[in-house]
Amino acid sequence: MTAVARLAHTVTSGALGYLHANRQFGAFEDEVNSDLNDPDGVYKPLCELALAASLVLRDGVTGTAEQQAARELLDFTWGQLRRGDLLYERQLRHPVLTDPLEVYSHHARSGYHHPALARTIDVGAAEDSMTEVLPNRRMAVANAHRVVGVPRDDDFEAMLRQTWLGRTPQPWVVDWYTAYHMTHAAFHITDWGGRPADMPADVAAYLETWLPVWFDVWAEAGQWDLVGELLIVSACLPEPRFVESEWELFAGLQHAEGFVPRDAEPVDDDPRLIYQNHQHTAVVAAIAGTVALSRLLGGGG
């Protein structure tokens, strides 16, 4: 497994380095208010950046340089979010939206706090405001509350059983979007590999059986972003699975700058376009590497 550990470290280190070096492409250009004209534009990538950096810090298995880069990324995202004020205003105005809570959870995980936002989240939880959500998103909300430290009576296993993954269906009844719902259900039940034992045994067995097939099929189609998420899922299992050929494939896709292309389409030359198109996959790569490395070194409880 040292081969996989080396690959995982290279992948996460490279991806994190890329995200750090190019973070200005993910900055708000203008003054932005809590309504956010274009949440998928800068805001969403900013949130994902925070997620990746927070997991690198949480797992603490990469070197000093990477830990430093992760910390600087969170300083950056927190700054972009006006030290939480943007999230606070947004959550206050839109109590049903889950994204302020989720973004906050990644910062809170890493020691950034906003008391007014935390109180707003507390009240929202008591009001049960975030209810009309897809099953895997319900789990995202529950996990975010858990990370922030809001006491709730969420039944994680029951929520999992409401998801596609929790029902362990015939494994061919899946499309590209459902595959992402599946990966996210796995992420949230295990808190991104932090609580792998929380995954029920039958779900773990199901994933062990079918991950190789999904990996093979979507790798053949050049869907590198999804394939990266499958690597994360593999590392989140109670008995994590590491397949050297899968990691070699993924690591082999990584460009010198550190990003991994999201698919087999030609990669643009323009650094801004590269960031726009492939930032998400760099986030996936950074997370895959840190979670895998952490599990290889015996982490995850």
Partner: protein, 62 residues
Amino acid sequence: MSVRTQVRPVSTPSDVAELCTLMVEPESTVTDPPLPMPNAAGGLALLLGLLISPSTPKEPRK
């Protein structure tokens, strides 16, 4: 009156080789798995980020 001779079927080694190729069909060379639909639900191929739900509605400016 024409005499129809029964032609005895014969094959050549290349016939047998061709038969083998016909008999042993490879799997489909082109894969057709589920893929993102670029024009679905708003146009972004990667709608599903790691975090948030699809695009939030815009509020009318006051």
